[in-house]
């Protein structure tokens, strides 16, 4: 892509998110979301492949629907209360509608059906931007509104963790697995939103770090299916040995960093007398762990029997920038001992 156009689009994406962060008026927040959506669309279809264009159209339609629903809800709230401020949503109908609109924006179950198809049509870098940066603005809004219906968020959260777990079980395609992983993690974030919002933010940031590592590892290996990962040990042996740790961190196993948000969420849910819900969420994490383990099984723990038939690829030095991957992998693996410091930061 022309570097000037790319710069404009990336700046526009940043602008959209920043506008939403900085806004206290619903119209400005909606405007930021729209700028964000429109800026990523050319990035998604830059390869001009029909599947990429299909993914772009599906993404545009869902995001436009969500934005329209959000605008409708904010106008309804302004009509009833006379307030355009984000925090002053006191009636249940607009608040519920806003929650549902934002759930569609980020891809929470049962409004998740677009996510695997859209991610499947994109290349790994754009998929990464979709899974990480595009979630910031809607979450910023979710954190600011006062939820009127406590059970709605819990239902959305639990459904997302279960759907994310079950949906990813029978997938061969890595991008679809990453989509279902995203849905499951968003479910965990939403579960604790109304009780401890800072924990939602922590989970979101931890998810960003972990999923960034995973996406970039797959990009370095240039693989989009589980089968193609089985050849990665000869191309990038160090990354092949680190990826199981990233996957187990995503699965939420101690002593890796991914355990931290899950542990704190389960603790908070138990404090709120929602122990059965916490149990169900923890069990659904096992489903996700199964397909993470399957990827690490294919990549690192087993040697494909087919290697003897092919020529070994030349181990040329890679031109890819792996410093961000190194940083995020270290954070993904080693951050758990800093939990007390992070918890103290949260409660500031």
């Amino acid at each position: 892509m022309n570097p000037y156009i790319l710069t404009i689009l990336l700046f526009a994406m940043g602008l959209g998110t920043t506008i939403t962060f900085a806004s206290s008026h619903w119209l400005l927040a909606w405007m930021g979301l729209e700028i964000n959506t429109l800026a990523i669309l050319p990035l998604m279809c830059q390869s001009h492949h029909p599947r990429a264009v299909e993914a772009t159209i599906k993404y545009f339609l869902t995001q436009a629907t969500a934005a329209a629903m959000l605008l409708f809800a904010s106008i309804t709230n302004a009509w009833i209360t006379g307030q355009w401020n984000l925090e002053f949503m006191s009636y249940s109908l607009p608040t519920t509608l806003v929650t549902v609109a934002l759930a569609l924006k980020i891809g929470l179950a049962p409004l998740h059906a677009w996510m695997p198809e859209v991610l499947q049509g994109l290349d790994l870098t754009t998929g990464l931007i979709l899974s990480t940066w595009q979630k910031l603005a809607p979450f910023c809004l979710l954190l600011q509104i006062n939820p009127s219906n406590t059970s709605l968020l819990l239902i959305l959260g639990l459904a997302s963790t279960l759907v994310g777990g079950w949906g990813g079980l029978n997938q061969n395609q890595l991008r679809k697995i990453l989509a279902y992983s995203s849905i499951a993690h968003l479910g965990w974030m939403i579960l604790v939103l109304q009780f401890f919002p800072s924990l939602t933010l922590l989970t979101l940031l931890m998810y960003f770090v972990m999923t960034f590592s995973l996406f970039i590892s797959f990009k370095v290996n240039n693989s989009t299916t589980i089968n193609s990962l089985s050849m990665s040990w000869s191309k990038t042996p160090i990354i092949s040995s680190m990826v199981p740790f990233i996957l187990l961190s995503l699965g939420g196993l101690p002593p890796l960093s991914g355990f931290m948000p899950k542990w704190l969420i389960l603790q908070e849910l138990t404090k709120q007398s929602l122990a059965p819900l916490a149990t169900l969420a923890a069990l659904s994490a096992l489903l996700s762990l199964y397909f993470y383990l399957r990827i690490s099984y294919a990549m690192t723990l087993t040697m494909s029997p087919n290697t003897l038939l092919n020529a070994l690829p030349w181990r040329l030095p890679s031109n890819q920038h792996t410093l961000p991957l190194a940083i995020t992998t270290s954070l993904t693996i080693c951050l758990l001992p800093l939990t007390p410091a992070i918890t103290a930061l949260l409660t500031l």
């Binding site: 029909p50 264009v53 395609q173 989009t224 494909s304 087919n306 092919n310 020529a311």
Partner: protein, 304 residues
Amino acid sequence: MSLPKISRVPASRLLSAVHDPRWPLRSAAPLAVPKRALTQSGYRRPGQPREDKPPWQRIKFDFSKGLEGITKHFKLLRQEFSDRLVGPEGKPIIEHMLEQNRVIWEFRGPDSLQEWTLSSDREIGGQSEIHLKLGKNNETCFLYGTLQSAPPRDGETRYSGYCSMRSKQPLVSFDRKKHHDWSSFNTLHLRIRGDGRPWMVNIAAESYFTHQKDDLYSYFLYTRGGPYWQDVKIPFSKFFLTHRGRIQDNQHPLWLDKVNTIGFTLGDKADGPFQLEIDFIGVCKDYAHTEDFAYEVYKRNPEV
């Protein structure tokens, strides 16, 4: 004393002498050109009048047919659920990870012929013929017929002379589309015995937009006429994009995760009989083939 009956409307017989009572206005009387059908569906052979029957007269309603359909679709749905417990596409994941070859279509019984659809220019009024039967010992499929390039004399069609065999779209319960996932493979492997004619292999992938429904990815299949079987391996990177038979300028590789159908077309303008025997159609993974796409896409008007 009864009042005389005053009729406001003239007697119908009188009216019919003037004009048809169903058409109060003379100008709305039916014209010689047949009016447009209520629903347009299916192919209309050029030169033929359009079908005027409304949908409820075209469908044959039958209770037993309905019951059969319900049992069939629910059985398929149950099969789908139980397949999901085993793994993707009903096979355990270990099979997906280890497989290097997969036979998709092999012709071992009369049921295998039901998965294929034949078509020729007979549909548009031409004279080509195509037939499909099982070969010797029910081990292969035998596609044969006659090609005639004489265009039909309907005043519209200019070219003719094609015969083709296309696989049917796989369906799951309730007639939903299922796609072949060949993303673990990179080569198409055919075992065929032809008569020296050049065929085209056409693969149709799933498309989203209506104007992409005639998009096919094609490649050539040159057959030898000999009595020996021919193993043809075509990498998927070689398939180029065509739309309604015309090669497109903007090419892109075929994505293998949602393949719908495969077809073989003969249109080499050589009139006469033809034969093609197919043993199996499979996909395989050639580790030595690392090409992503065989056709470079140059910028046609590069900025200087």
